[in-house]
């Protein structure tokens, strides 16, 4: 199914002067930086930072160039100059996709990455593994860019795994802390469960379409939507499993909060802005898989016309709700943000499920900006409070950390979706709109509810941490962070507001729907014109959430909610016991099987069989040699008896 020009066997890279080949440079620059740091300038902190930031900045500017060339009016192109594995009908190339989706994502990834790295100069100052940090960040950036640019499933899977690795390395950055090591392990393994499904999904799609390249599969499915046969929906869901892992969707969401064990810049970059968005990006990239009619194999035929997308939407919605509920009762500043991230990711996935990949991508983009901002802000707070993360031990920070406070407030507003002013409003609106137009009223309601809760818990955070009186001495003596940390906050605050006025939504919609025409009456009030229901409900939710937060937390000495919510509150606080369920069920199950296998191997295979054979052989030997009594009479008797027997047998043969 490959296009003729993609079956390139000669490995000669054809770097022509085509601008899309710049994508290769964007991809490789961070890798070169990572390798350079690891092998050559490990000893020098300054050089490490320079390498890393230089590479990512260069990549960023190249991305801007690409965005200008291709994002605005360019054609989608795929270049595949390298044959990676080509055997039989398995043909895997290394190629890059340059289209609106990927160039936008390139911008997000390189942009946030650059800012986070600059921020890290201050944040990680004095850490003895400073250069390792930058090396790992560069490696991550490389892997993430690989996902973005991948033009086929295998390559995406490769970078998918590499992203998992870099995330593992960064979560476990402070590996001497046992909790960091555990969290890293958990993140990797949970992701692996998703990858397992992803891989099987890839195999199914390949077996049915004979190709692993996105273009090839899309082409085949375009020509024959039933190519996947009865497994169509299953394959889609399996591929979605990958997204479930990376984007931390229920039930694989448990790793993300723990991942906050990593340094805060890592949380901002990986676990808020980019890596966790990879799942959503992948769903958008492979959206063609989900546009085929629903089909289920025999045993699952009762699902009828329920499509994979419907299930995805429900999972996304449920994740959004669940995470929001948990976020309400968290006290750790980073955990609140982490659950918020989960919730927003659920939002995006729901959007994809409702048939709005453009909305999802839109929200992904805006969310990347303001969530990175929030995390970096939180990092600044933590840094200022001497690594105190409990919001109930802060308070009154607004005056002591003015810049941090202002930018954090902007981020909060954007996350809450303050109408007109913030980017979050537009993207959230697009999602709610997609839920309605996609025919999912229940999910729409759920979305509104989650929006209200989002406002509630974010304001709770802001009120408790920044207002009132300092609750601890550390909070009382807090100082504003150094400039290298402040400037990225300011820069990130800009898109949280400014993106609001760019026609990003239309830009993306045009990618997914060639026949898309921008809505009449666009502009900053657009949503109220063409999606009044969504805009109104969204605004209403915001107001409701804000009111509740102010009512409950303004000047509250401690959290009043647990007393009111009782058991549910405790469940929320304990994250609905998901970790306990996993620790109590899934892990022991595997452990039990392993124990069983080990027992079997130890006692049956090695013990009973091997030692048994060994022992019985030796025993037989010992017994048999007793025949040799040393007594001549025995010998002569054996001799004579032997003669008799042998002769008799021999004569029988006659």
């Amino acid at each position: 199914m490959e296009h003729a020009n993609t079956t390139v066997t000669a490995a000669a890279p054809a770097f022509s002067s085509r601008p899309e080949d710049l994508a290769w440079f964007i991809l490789l620059l961070p890798l070169i930086a990572a390798a350079g740091i690891a092998f050559f300038v490990r000893k020098s902190n300054v050089l490490s930072a320079v390498f890393s930031i230089g590479a990512v900045l260069a990549a960023f500017f190249l991305s801007v160039g690409l965005f200008i060339t291709f994002g605005i009016g360019g054609e989608a192109t795929v270049t595949t100059p390298f044959s990676w594995i080509h055997v039989g009908d398995l043909n895997v190339n290394l190629g890059v996709t340059v289209d609106r989706l990927s160039v936008l994502m390139l911008l997000v990834v390189t942009g946030v990455s650059a800012l986070v790295q600059i921020y890290s100069i201050g944040y990680m100052h004095g850490d003895r593994s400073f250069s390792r940090f930058f090396s790992s960040l560069s490696l991550f950036t490389f892997s993430m860019l690989g996902i973005v640019l991948a033009d086929n499933f295998v390559m995406m899977f490769v970078f998918w795994e590499l992203v998992g690795l870099s995330s593992y390395l960064l979560i476990g950055f402070w590996y001497e802390k046992p909790s960091a090591g555990d969290a890293a392990k958990k993140a990797f393994l949970t992701n692996r469960i998703g990858d397992f499904g992803f891989l099987i999904g890839i195999l199914m799609v390949w077996a049915a379409t004979g190709s692993v390249s996105f273009a090839g599969i899309a082409h085949k499915l375009g020509a024959d939507p039933a190519a996947l046969g009865s497994m169509a929906s299953i394959a889609g869901l399996l591929v979605f499993c990958g997204a479930m892992g990376k984007s931390a969707q229920f039930p694989l969401h448990v790793w993300l909060p723990d991942a906050m064990e990593g340094p805060t810049p890592v949380s901002a970059l990986i676990h808020a802005a980019t890596m966790v968005a990879a799942g959503v990006y992948m769903l958008c990239r492979t959206f063609f898989l989900y546009q085929v009619p629903a089909a289920w194999p025999g045993p699952l035929s009762f699902l009828g016309s329920i499509s994979a997308l419907d299930i995805i939407a429900v999972i996304g919605g449920f994740t959004a709700l669940l995470a929001a509920l948990i976020a309400i009762q968290q006290n750790d500043i980073k955990r609140i943000l982490a659950y918020s991230t989960l919730s927003q990711l659920g939002y995006m996935v729901m959007a994809v499920g409702c048939g709005g990949p453009d909305a999802a991508m839109y929200h992904l983009t805006t969310h990347a900006g303001f969530k990175a901002l929030l995390f970096l802000g939180a990092g600044s707070v933590i840094h200022a409070c001497h690594h105190e993360q409990d919001i109930w031990k802060m308070g009154g920070l607004w005056s002591k950390l003015p810049v941090t406070f202002r930018t954090f407030a902007i981020g909060t507003a954007a996350l809450a979706g303050l109408p007109i002013l913030t980017s979050g409003f537009y993207s959230k609106d697009a999602i709610l709109d997609a839920a309605i137009t996609g025919g999912h009223p229940v999910l729409f309601g759920l979305g509104v509810l989650v929006a209200a809760m989002t406002t509630f818990y974010m304001l709770r955070l802001v009120i408790v941490a920044f207002f009132g009186a300092p609750r601890t001495e550390a909070a009382g003596h807090a100082h504003e962070s150094p400039n290298s940390m402040i400037w990225p906050l300011i820069v990130l605050a800009v898109p949280s507001v400014a993106v609001a006025w760019l026609p990003l939504g239309d830009f993306l919609s045009a990618h997914f729907n060639p026949h898309f025409h921008p809505h009449e009456g666009g502009g900053i009030f657009g949503p109220f014109n063409h999606a009044p229901l969504a805009a109104t409900f969204g605004t209403g939710a915001l107001l409701f959430g804000a009111a509740a937060a102010f009512h409950l937390y303004w000047n509250a000495p401690k959290d009043p909610l647990p007393g009111q919510l009782g058991l549910i509150g405790r469940a929320m606080k304990n994250r609905f016991y998901f970790d306990e369920i996993y620790d109590g069920v899934l892990v022991p199950l595997h452990d039990m099987l392993a124990r069983l296998a080990d027992w079997f191997d130890r006692w049956i295979v090695s013990g009973l069989i091997i030692r048994g054979v060994h022992g019985s052989t030796e025993l037989v030997g010992r017994a048999l040699r007793l025949v040799q009594t040393g007594n001549l009479q025995t010998y002569t008797f054996m001799f004579a008896a032997g003669v008799a027997v042998v002769v008799m047998i021999a004569l029988k043969l006659k």
């Binding site: 490995a11 594995i85 009908d89 001497e176 090591g181 392990k185 077996a207 595997h590 080990d598």
Partner: protein, 510 residues
């Protein structure tokens, strides 16, 4: 460099070492190092000079040896073994490097190591099956002596005898199969090329093939640690000195698999078809069961040993597919795993050397005092759970692609085993050995010095090279695999019916 000179280099080296008096330790070490270096360079030259895209044997040499018994010396490389030869020589070089610290009887040690190297290379390049067996067995005594003399642990004796007896039994059963092939085919030769041509004319009956095949499967399978004949491997490697564990788990273990592919695919297609389901089930025993075993190990050496068995499961899975893609994947894994296993055991050896134990409960936080070894170990363990970027990944994924069309259910289970179970124990190893607070007694242990990194860098480099650019191997492997798979599937109508998609896939590949 001709294959014969490549093959003879280690033996000549061994002879030279023999002639040096035992107390000239440095000279002995240098000779050994030089010998393996020359071997490795020679193998690289052969690899580079090998023409990809050609199915025929290259660098062939043929001499009559015992005409009375129809045996001849016949060496050559094609896609199936070219990568293995390269891998074997690289591992041998690395193994020689890490043995620098052998203090007790270094002369004997290096002689044995060089014999082992020669045996391994000889087994891979021999096209006369007699010599394949011959060279494989040649490495048995060195294994035994090295484990006994320089091995470690309380279970050393038991493990040494267990591994020796198991390997002998396996090799003998396989030999029985080969001899039966020799006798029953009537070709009066064990030359694979002649046998293939002979059997193409007069194939053995289905019953005979079904009788001989299990002998080869279980015989060679035992050499590879096919479940349930696996229990020698982990304790054996745990007890073996570093270089032996590297050579054995990395190189010699592959001989069995290589021989299975080399012999059964072209010569016993019906037998293979008959026994494919059994192989498929047994390979799950390796992937899942041995994975579980690895999960339970408290000793890093045992963990690595069991994980090595789990990897072999993928090879059997690929073999069971009898498809070009699957078998190509098997060869890829064999090369990759050889490098990986050697790397892992080499690093483990360093760990044991500086800490004195491989008990994971006693270790912890070693990444701090051992930045290089620790990082390399992370890389090795990650490669072991199938991380892209290392050569294992392309192999495993190719196997899964190759098998999917015929045995999807098995692929699902295998993927679970490879991705999940593999991940669990590998990460647990990293967590307990490298992460966490460093223990006081290990705070000052020594990392690998400047040039001591060389063996690990060589192996790691090769792993990454083939991981990033598997095409360089695949292009060499593919034609030969296509050839044997064609022989395996074209033979009997029954087999062809079962693998039609594969067969057509193969045709389109041309």
């Amino acid at each position: 460099m001709s294959l014969t000179s490549l093959l003879l280099t280690p033996f000549v080296g061994a002879l030279l070492v023999l002639l040096v008096p035992g107390n000239y330790r440095v000279i002995i070490r240098l000779i050994a190092l030089l010998t393996t270096a020359v071997t490795a360079i020679g193998a690289i030259c052969v690899f580079a000079a090998f023409h990809p895209g050609v199915a025929d044997f290259q660098f062939e040499q043929h001499t009559a040896w015992i005409p009375a018994a129809g045996l001849s010396y016949h060496v050559g490389v094609d896609g199936l073994n070219i990568g293995l030869v390269l891998m074997a020589s690289l591992v041998a070089f690395a193994a020689t490097c890490v043995s620098w610290d052998i203090e007790r009887q270094p002369k004997l040690f290096y002689i044995l190591l060089l014999l082992m190297t020669g045996g391994a290379i000889g087994a891979f390049v021999s096209l006369d099956l007699f010599f394949l067996y011959f060279f494989n067995e040649l490495a048995l005594v060195p294994t035994f002596l090295m484990m006994g003399l320089w091995g470690r642990g309380e279970q050393k004796n038991y493990a040494t005898f267990q591994i020796t007896l198991y390997l002998t039994l396996g090799a003998l059963v396989a030999l029985t199969g080969l001899i039966a092939l020799y006798g029953l085919s009537g070709a009066n030769t064990l030359d694979i090329v002649v046998l293939k041509a002979w059997l193409a004319e007069k194939p053995l009956s289905h019953q005979v093939q079904a009788l001989i095949f299990p002998l080869l499967l279980f015989g060679f399978g035992t050499l590879v640690g096919l479940w349930p004949f696996h229990s020698w491997a982990a304790p054996g490697y745990a007890a073996a000195p570093t270089a032996t564990a590297m050579m054995h788990s990395g190189v010699l273990k592959k001989v069995g698999l290589y021989a299975l592919i080399r012999v059964t695919l072209p010569l016993l297609p019906d037998g293979l078809a008959h026994w494919t389901p059994v192989i498929a089930w047994l390979c799950l025993g390796n992937i899942i069961y041995c994975g579980w075993l690895a999960m339970r190990q408290r000793d890093l050496a045992l963990l690595l040993g069991n994980s090595s068995l789990a990897h072999m499961g993928f090879c059997f899975l690929g073999l069971a597919s009898v498809s070009v893609i699957g078998v190509t994947g098997v060869v890829l894994i064999m090369v990759a795993h050889g490098l990986l296993a050697a790397l892992s055991f080499g690093l483990l050896g360093h760990l044991v050397k500086v800490t004195g134990t491989s008990d994971m409960d006693k270790l912890g936080g070693l990444l701090r005092p051992l930045p290089f070894i620790g990082a390399a170990l992370v890389a090795a363990l990650m490669a072991g759970c199938g991380l892209p970027g290392f050569a294992n990944f392309p192999g495993e994924i190719t196997v899964m692609f190759g098998v999917w069309k015929t045995l999807p259910g098995f692929v699902v289970v295998a993927a679970w085993g490879g991705l999940l179970i593999g991940g669990v124990y590998m990460l647990r190893a990293i967590r307990t050995v490298l992460h966490g607070p460093v223990k006081a007694e290990f705070a000052r242990v020594e990392d690998a010095g400047c040039w001591r990194k060389l063996p690990f860098l060589v192996l790691l480099g090769a792993l990454i090279y083939f991981g990033v650019n598997p095409g360089s191997l695949v292009e060499r492997i593919k034609p030969a695999v296509a050839e044997v798979v064609k022989a395996a599937t074209a033979k009997s109508p029954a087999t062809e019916a079962a693998h039609t998609p594969t067969a057509t896939a193969m045709n389109t590949a041309h």
